[in-house]
């Protein structure tokens, strides 16, 4: 029970100081800390020392050690990145990072609406700002990510309609589909709806043939995982509503300055990821999911998430906040509550609020427009290369698009290796997720890409394909 082998007290453990420890033991009335573990039987005691690497208690040594490992990484800052597919590189305004590294927010957790008033207000404001973007009246405190947001959205639809089958467009993200399927198994049946090979859009005949009185909802994404804009939203929602089912739409919020929000074409539940709104890519650690609905009791009461509401206090004119309909949660009623709630991604919600406050209506519109322009420029220039076609689907796209390399005779793996040598992270290889497409890759172009970045890509691919001839 000595502080450390070197006799020094670790800076993270103040009461390791021998005199203090002795004083506390005396106060408790025992001789050694071991006595405090009397309830743990001998046979469950871990008998040896934990076999972990030699520690680096000096902060400097630790920093050197970690930095050395991290230096093996190549970053999206030093390379030009065209990867998206569920995590997108956008510009992160300096104030977003300034706010989310504040000790007060970073190290708060579950304080009361009094001493943590700022946390409640910041998250209420996040809900309110997102509500404007999606044009709906209710938004939750963030859940883990889009996978969870979509999973919960369809389970909400199942509870609202009291039906047990959900239909899903077969162009949603395969990763998300995998999460939804696991979240539904074995309670809810998942059925896929085909797309039109030419445009990517939902095959409405197939949808109609699969609609029945068992169907709780149809879930599709807009823009789709493959980047095209699904322009039949109104019709799809209509088909669902006609049969008493709900329309659930996953949306990329960065598109909503230029593309109409799903609530305007009949969506009842809207979900998606807010990572693009002020979060770094963080190797996938910046994800956070949102769910939005109308302010109707039958919808609100089915949210598992925290919903912060605004109220008054005993002082005239003072805003207070608290949990709306807390009784619906698993915190209140365990398995009788709606699904479950716990620590998820609140700090990213606060950050997305900061982002939307900075951007304002004009900023979001300009962002959408810029992404449309730059991605169209990339598609056009790529298509000028012999053997390359972009986009694969004959539809308007937002931010992401499928590049068809089939006629180059090269695999995406080879192409991306070549691009990597030119400091370019090429698009995601789709040959595993969508084998029917052959050699295709999913590219992502946002406001951060300059003309020079795109030209560099085009030039590299031109060299690669021509070199082969």
């Amino acid at each position: 029970m000595s502080p450390q082998k070197n006799g020094k007290v670790h800076p993270y453990i103040p009461n390791s100081v021998p005199e203090i420890k002795a004083k506390m033991l005396e106060e408790i009335g025992i001789n050694s800390i071991d006595e405090l573990y009397a309830d743990i039987p001998e046979n469950l005691r871990f008998k040896r020392e934990l076999d972990l690497p030699e520690p680096l208690p000096s902060e400097y040594a630790l920093k050197r050690h970690v930095e050395k490992i991290l230096s093996k990484n190549r970053t999206c800052k030093d390379n030009t990145n065209f990867l998206g597919g569920g995590c997108w590189q956008h510009y992160v305004p300096a104030i977003c990072d300034e706010i989310n590294q504040r000790s007060e927010f970073l190290t708060a957790y579950a304080g009361e609406p009094y001493e943590d008033h700022g946390r409640f207000q910041a998250l209420f404001e996040y809900q309110s700002l997102m509500a404007e973007l999606v044009d709906m009246d209710v938004v939750n405190v963030p859940t883990y990510d889009w996978c969870q947001a979509a999973s919960t959205s369809v389970r909400m639809a199942v509870r609202i309609t009291k039906r047990n089958t959900i239909l899903i467009s077969d162009t949603v993200s395969p990763e998300r589909l995998s999460a939804i399927k696991n979240y539904c198994r074995p309670v809810v049946t998942v059925q896929m709806v085909n797309h039109c090979p030419k445009t990517g859009m939902m095959d409405l005949d197939d949808l109609k043939s699969k609609m029945s009185s068992d169907v709780a909802c149809i879930y599709f994404e807009n823009p789709s995982y493959l980047g095209f804009i699904e322009s039949q939203g109104q019709i799809i929602s209509g088909i669902a509503h006609e049969k008493g089912a709900l329309s659930v739409v996953g949306v990329d919020p960065t598109s909503l300055g230029v593309v109409v929000p799903p609530s305007n074409y009949g969506a009842d539940i809207v979900c998606g990821d807010i990572q693009g709104l002020g979060m770094h890519v963080n190797y996938g650690g910046g994800l956070a999911g949102f769910i939005a609905t109308r302010d109707e009791k039958e919808f609100v009461m089915e949210y598992p998430s925290r919903l912060f509401g605004i109220t008054r206090t005993t002082v005239e004119g003072e805003y207070g906040f608290g949990d709306v309909a807390y009784e619906r949660t698993s915190f209140a009623h365990r398995e009788e509550g709606k699904e479950f709630v716990g620590t998820a991604a609140a700090l990213w919600g606060i950050t997305a609020g900061v982002y939307l406050a900075l951007m304002g209506p004009e900023g979001m519109q300009e962002l959408g427009k810029t992404i449309m322009q730059k991605s169209q420029y990339a598609m056009k220039k790529l298509s000028e290369i012999e053997g390359i076609k972009a986009p694969l689907f004959e539809s308007p796209h937002f931010k992401e698009f499928v590049v068809d390399f089939n006629d180059t005779g090269k695999t995406i793996k080879d192409i991306n290796t070549y691009l990597l040598d030119n400091n370019i992270f090429g698009g995601k290889d789709l040959s595993i997720e969508f084998p029917e497409l052959g050699n295709c890759a999913l590219y992502c172009v946002t406001e951060i890409h300059t003309k020079e970045d795109i030209d560099h890509l085009v030039q590299a691919l031109t060299c690669l394909t021509q070199g082969e001839e």
């Binding site: 082998k5 670790h10 453990i13 408790i28 573990y37 046979n43 871990f46 076999d51 972990l52 520690p55 970690v66 930095e67 490992i69 093996k72 990484n73 190549r74 800052k77 030093d78 990145n81 104030i95 706010i99 000790s103 007060e104 927010f105 970073l106 190290t107 957790y109 579950a110 304080g111 001493e115 209420f124 404001e125 509500a131 009246d137 209710v138 963030p142 883990y144 990510d145 996978c147 998300r176 074995p186 890519v281 650690g285 109220t311 005993t314 003072e318 207070g320 709306v324 698993s330 398995e335 716990g342 620590t343 998820a344 991604a345 951007m359 900023g363 979001m364 810029t370 991306n416 300059t450």
Partner: protein, 515 residues
């Protein structure tokens, strides 16, 4: 230094809602301009969108100059009392320990935050090494055979555990197993996540010693039992000495055992999941392993399993072939995904760095000092009039204790909620407890290893002060807070569909205010 009660007052900015700061035409940030050459080639970019899909009415976001946005959020932050500011030991079960600043610095480097999850493995060897190594550390700490960091928090890890339990029985052709057993002092999500998976939940209650009797478990299990999900020590801080017998009984009936170790802060290097007979366990990296709580995430529930269950884990795993680290998708029985990509990498990095700073011996020191601190507080709280520590009379506790103000409430009318509100006036948090309150008027204290004896004494002095007031002038406590950010909240509107307002636009509509 004799602990004193601070003449505290929290920042109170009377800050408007962000929409009230809007002034038409102001801008918070400008985005990169589109090059003229691009515009020449593609035009305005938006006219390709079909008419019915174009957004015609812009979102009614506020328009605010940059410094005003900054100021607003800085003021809100000051109206929030994080662990870096208060002696945060009143948030029991949550392990509000110090999150070292060096780990924040490291996590903000470009080599962390500017990594895309789909980059080629050769470009992320550093990140994969950190993940792989942390997995190795947790294997040693728990005795499990493989870890994944994919679940985005403790509840997500519980759901992953119950999904694996389900898949395991499914593959064995035993899908008639439709019950999960848990205890009332295990986290609410142990019951709730099981219900999402379609299980009937059987909840066991403690006897007068705070423990579930072995006999009660025996009665609850059968050939319908899919598994057990349990915390130990439970929220009471009492370690169940029969835990190995529990897992054996469940195994004898063909069930699996999942250990909710969201909070394992008192037992690092002392006792492990493996020796207690568990098949699955998880650690919250934002609790025991020091990653910050961030107002409630981003987070990681690091999930570990025995050899038999590795093939059921969510894909991918991070593996090492002796030369390079890689993502392994080759798990034939995988439950699929529970979250996008591989987990919250910054939190993984912070946990790695925390363990590297302490080492094996340091980890055990952290655990034992956390337990010392807890039992010191137990001694002090029991001396406070009106407070009791139900169950386990005369015994020591592990990392936390669930106390009760029942006596205080009987004698003064002052409730847990009242004490909580008054504590805020002195710059402290005090949390009640998870529902249902089978301990009446509960509160849960968990000091961790992070707070000095002086700080602990200061917190105790705060509790004593509030109790003194409760006996002298209960109204004073009941009307608190006075020195916090705001005053007593009207909760009545929050449960009324006509009056609740979850967004500003909804508030304006319902209260007929012109925006």
């Amino acid at each position: 230094m004799k602990p004193k009660i601070r003449n505290f007052h929290q920042a109170k900015w009377d800050e408007p809602i962000i929409f009230e700061l809007s002034a038409k035409g102001e801008r918070g940030i400008l985005i990169p301009e589109v090059e003229k050459e691009i515009e020449e080639v593609v035009g305005d970019g938006v006219s390709v969108i079909p008419e019915n899909m174009i957004r015609k009415k812009l979102p009614a976001l506020p328009e605010i100059a940059q410094m005003k946005v900054l100021k607003h959020y800085l003021r809100l932050s000051q109206q929030c009392l994080g662990a870096d500011l208060n002696v945060d030991l009143g948030q029991g079960t949550c392990t509000m320990k110090y999150s070292p600043k060096i780990n924040e610095v490291l996590s903000r480097s470009c080599e962390v935050c500017e990594l895309h999850p789909l980059q080629e493995e050769s470009t992320v060897q550093g990140a994969l090494q950190i993940m792989y190594s942390l997995g190795e550390f947790l294997k040693e700490i728990s005795g499990m055979n493989q870890f994944t960091f994919q679940p985005g928090g403790g509840s997500s890890a519980i759901f992953a555990m119950v999904s694996i339990i389900h898949a395991y029985h499914d593959f064995k052709g035993e899908s008639e197993r439709d019950e999960i057993v848990t205890t009332i002092f295990s986290h609410p999500s142990d019951a709730a996540a099981a219900a999402v998976k379609g299980y009937k939940v059987i909840t066991l209650y403690p006897d007068e010693n705070g423990l579930v009797e072995v006999e009660a478990l025996k009665k609850a299990v059968s050939n319908r039992t899919a598994g057990l999900l349990i915390t130990n020590p439970e929220d009471t801080g009492i370690f169940n000495p029969s835990i190995a017998e529990f897992t054996e009984i469940v195994h004898d009936h063909g069930g699996l055992c999942g250990y909710d170790q969201a909070n394992a802060n008192g037992i690092l290097g002392v006792t492990r999941s493996k020796e207690a007979g568990f098949d699955l366990c998880f650690f919250n990296l934002h609790k025991t392993f020091s990653a910050p709580h961030g107002c409630g995430g981003p987070a990681v529930g690091a999930l570990g399993v025995t050899e038999e269950l590795v093939n059921y884990l969510p894909v991918p795993l991070v593996d090492f072939d002796g030369k390079k680290y890689y993502l392994n998708y080759n798990l034939p029985k995988t439950i699929g995904k529970v979250r996008g990509f591989y987990g919250v990498f910054p939190a993984i990095l912070k946990a790695y760095a925390w363990i590297m700073s302490l080492g094996g011996e340091g980890l055990k020191e952290a655990a034992t000092i956390a337990v010392l601190n807890n039992n010191y507080i137990l001694k002090k709280v029991k001396e406070i009039k009106g407070a009791t520590a139900p169950y386990a009379k005369g015994r020591h506790r592990i990392e936390q204790v669930r106390y009760s103000w029942e006596q205080l409430t009987k004698e003064t009318g002052v409730t847990t909620e009242d004490v909580t509100c008054r504590m805020a006036d002195f710059g402290f948090h005090l949390w009640s407890s998870h529902h249902p309150w089978i301990v009446p008027q509960p509160f849960t204290i968990e000091p961790t290893e992070s707070y000095s004896k002086d700080e602990i004494d200061e917190y105790i002095t705060g509790l004593k002060k509030v109790v003194e007031e409760a006996y002298e002038n209960p109204e004073k406590v009941k009307n608190a807070p006075y020195n916090s950010v705001i005053h007593k909240i009207d909760h009545s509107t929050l449960d009324d569909p006509e009056k609740w307002a979850i967004t500003w636009r909804s508030y304006l509509k319902k209260y007929k205010i012109k925006g």
